[in-house]
């Protein structure tokens, strides 16, 4: 922890930050049992990947990363919509949104 690490913000800082956020989202997916919190953790992971794209885009001077973030955002919103619709239909049947009810899915 020298002074240069604290004052000189570079690509590494953003990459490590997004890696930690991604690990947090993964921990949420593995440890939580509520479907809604699971979906929120997935959003967290997608967002940390977006941060990586933007950081690389700035530090390498390639604008294509911004386009990728655009696509990822759209797909994340679509995924949230479908996931929540699934959660609603699970809730209608079992009156709870615990992930263990997904074990009963068949057909």
């Amino acid at each position: 922890m020298n002074a240069d690490f604290i004052t000189n913000i570079g690509l590494t800082h953003y990459l490590v930050l997004s890696a930690i956020l991604f690990a947090m989202g993964m921990a949420g997916v593995l440890l939580r049992r509520n479907v809604l919190v699971l979906l929120m953790s997935i959003e967290l992971m997608l967002n940390s990947v977006n941060l990586t794209f933007i950081a690389f885009s700035k530090f390498l001077g390639i604008l294509d990363g911004h386009i990728m973030v655009f696509f990822v955002m759209t797909i994340a919103a679509a995924e949230a919509a479908v996931g929540l619709a699934l959660a609603v239909s699970i809730f209608k049947r079992f009156n709870e949104v615990n992930i263990r009810f997904f074990e009963h899915l068949k057909g």
């Binding site: 001077g61 911004h66 386009i67 615990n98």
Partner: protein
């Protein structure tokens, strides 16, 4: 300590703290609130990276639309405190946390190894030119020329998703129909 560095550390602490709250809160509505906070912090981080347009889209799509969707569904369910918010089993829990730690260590190690391999582009950088207008203009130009097929495909995907979400929420329990 310059303003840039202070801003980064402040936003990093806010984002990481609220991100941690997302997975630690037992009540889903508090998780949603923390997620909104994380999204706002992330948008501010995008501003520090000169991605002004993406920051605006982030605020509108995530902190606006997606969070409203989550909050509405939580209110619809009328969830109380989760009785069993976390997974059972000490051994599997330890294994899961260990695997997450392993992944984080792997990624951070890879980043630390690759420091200096990529040279930062300071001259003629399309992201850094001008005061934000030029970047947004260039973004629109490549979105509608180089990536026009992906853009159209996204439109089709959104249509399919809209129809699919309506069809899913209208079904009465699917295969478990009584």
């Amino acid at each position: 300590m310059t303003a840039d560095a202070f801003l980064f550390w402040f936003l990093a602490i806010v984002t990481l703290g609220s991100g941690l709250m997302v997975i630690l809160q037992k009540n889903p509505i508090y998780s949603a609130l923390s997620l909104a906070m994380t999204m706002v912090g992330m948008a501010a981080l995008f501003v520090t990276l000169n991605a002004f347009f993406i920051a605006g889209v982030q605020l509108i799509v995530y902190a606006g639309a997606v969070m409203v969707l989550f909050t509405m569904v939580i209110m619809l369910f009328d969830l109380k405190q989760d009785i069993q918010a976390f997974t059972r089993g000490k051994l599997s829990g330890i294994l899961k946390i260990a695997s997450v730690g392993l992944l984080a260590g792997l990624v951070v190690g890879a980043i630390a190894m690759s420091v200096g391999l990529l040279t930062e582009k300071t001259t003629d950088n399309p992201v850094l030119v001008g005061n934000g207008m030029e970047t947004t203009k260039a973004l629109g130009q490549i979105l509608y020329t180089k990536y026009i097929f992906g853009f159209e495909a996204l439109g089709v995907l959104l249509l399919v998703i809209a129809v699919g979400a309506v069809a899913l929420s209208r079904s009465k329990g699917g295969t478990h129909e009584r």
